[in-house]
């Protein structure tokens, strides 16, 4: 009885406090003052749709388009890698993009990675080996920030998993540069400061990265595909999806197999269960 009485009193007290608090202005001291106004950036920033037609790996049956991944790798190598690292990916992983062992070895050799002089022990550089990870373009974050107007270019290994709807986000970001609507920007206080670039798909609208894909044909694709900006953006977004989750296709395929097995096993379990219970639950009239 004491517990119930105490409970009722405590419950009524909590309710009274909360209800008065939320409904009667000025009843309590608001610790944080009035609620902050809606951030204007949320209104200004546009969610993109990703590339037209989507990606080959979308959906439960999607698979890699290996030619596209190879093109995307070329875009990363020739454009992105100047500033962005790919530290969780090793050259040997390129084998998954249908490159032969010799091609991977040659590809690794075309990159310069940090090494140690075998005779003096001093830090030096050497050609890459398949077991090496992609090298960092800057020795550390301070150097990266200093070279990039104080914005550190993020590592791209996981970028498509580290952003909401990441594959589409990368595509949208790369194709989202343009001139801001001056009236709208002035109204919400989002004029683009000097040194930043307007991008309608960037959450903050103004991004430090200069448009990386600036002109059609910036990359000459080995397979003859026309390197338009949307094409390059799609390809590199696909490549970065692969770097973020190399097991994506294997995962879905395993999933179908497991699912099929489980459906079969569950159907059997259901029949077995019904058989055991037969007669135990007479239907109510």
């Amino acid at each position: 009885m004491t517990i119930r009485l105490g409970g009722i009193i405590a419950g009524l007290a909590i309710t009274a406090v909360l209800v008065l608090w939320s409904l009667v202005p000025g009843f309590m001291n608001f610790a944080f003052g009035p609620a902050p106004e809606q951030q204007p950036s949320y209104a200004f920033y546009e969610h993109g749709e990703g590339p037209e037609g989507g990606f080959s790996f979308d959906g439960p049956l999607g698979t890699w388009d290996v030619a596209q991944l190879q093109r995307g790798y070329q875009v990363y190598k020739e454009v992105c890698s100047a500033c962005h690292s790919l530290k969780f990916v090793a050259f040997r992983n390129l084998r998954q993009l249908s490159y032969s062992e010799a091609e991977v070895e040659a590809e690794a050799k075309s990159w310069t990675v940090p090494g140690i002089d075998p005779n003096t022990g001093e830090a030096t550089t050497r050609p890459g080996k398949p077991t090496d990870a992609f090298p960092m373009p800057f020795p550390n974050n301070i150097a990266a920030a200093a070279a990039n107007n104080n914005a550190i270019p993020p590592d791209l290994s996981l970028i498509t998993k580290a952003r909401h709807d990441g594959s589409n986000y990368v595509y949208d970001l790369l194709t989202g540069y343009g001139e801001p609507d001056p009236v709208k920007a002035a109204k919400v206080g989002f004029e683009t400061p000097a040194g930043l670039h307007f991008n309608k798909h960037f959450p903050n609208v103004n991004i430090a990265m200069a448009p990386p894909l600036a002109i059609d044909g910036q990359v000459s694709y080995a397979d003859g595909t026309a390197a338009t900006i949307p094409q390059m953006a799609t390809d590199v977004a696909a490549f970065l999806t692969w770097t973020a989750e190399p097991s994506l296709v294997e995962r879905k395929q395993t999933g179908w197999f497991v699912l099929g097995f489980l459906l079969f096993a569950t159907a059997l379990a259901f029949l077995s269960y019904k058989q055991i219970w037969a007669g135990m639950k007479p239907k109510k009239k």
Binding site: A90, L262, F264, L268, S272, I276, G279, P282
Partner: protein, 193 residues
């Protein structure tokens, strides 16, 4: 079953399933359901067991390239191969002669020096630096180390002596130092593994 009244006890129900012949009906459906569950449970073991096998990055390091051009006759270098020491030794003419003079049939693990080297590179002895007894690293690769009674390698753990072809001659080790799989990529570079 239609007879089942409210007062029918579960015991009564199970008597019915037991049937007239008195043995519980082993319906195929229970057997099938249980075996399928068993197969499912057993296949769960596969990823759990295989995760302990070497991972992709470890397997990728299973080959090593070694530049052997700088090794002078009589010298040896120690390099890492699969996280274990690898001895690469350039034999002198005397050492080759010593190795070839041995009566093969007298050896514990009979092998000729030619069998243990590559054609055209008989002076290049590539062996694991792992004693075949219990896995210690034998001495004799570095300058000034005890090379044992037969001028090759000496394992200090339990006193195994290897000769100039790294064959076991004395002590508890059962086999010669292992020659890993390797090939000459060029005259100067070997690829091990």
């Amino acid at each position: 079953m239609a007879e089942m009244s409210g007062a029918t006890t579960p015991a009564g129900a199970s008597e019915m399933t037991e049937g007239a012949d008195g043995i519980r009906r082993r319906d195929w459906i229970h057997v099938a359901a249980l075996s399928t569950a068993g197969v499912g449970g057993a296949s769960l073991l596969f990823p759990l067991v295989s995760q302990m096998a070497p991972s992709a990055d470890v397997l990728a390091q299973s080959t090593t390239e070694v530049d052997v051009s700088a090794i002078q006759p009589g010298q040896a270098i120690k390099v890492m191969f699969r996280k274990q020491p690898l001895f690469v030794r350039r034999l002198t003419a005397d050492e080759i002669k010593l190795a070839n003079e041995v009566d093969i049939s007298s050896l514990r693990d009979p092998q000729t020096l030619t069998e243990r080297t590559k054609e055209g590179h008989e002076d290049m002895l590539v062996t694991m630096g792992v004693c075949t007894h219990l896995g210690c690293v034998p001495l004799g690769a570095a300058e000034g180390e005890n090379k044992g009674e037969y001028g090759g390698y000496f394992c200090p753990c339990h006193g195994s002596h290897y000769d100039t072809a790294a064959r076991i001659r004395k002590g508890p080790a059962p086999l010669n130092l292992v020659v890993p799989e390797y090939s000459f990529k060029t005259d100067a570079v070997i690829r091990v593994g």
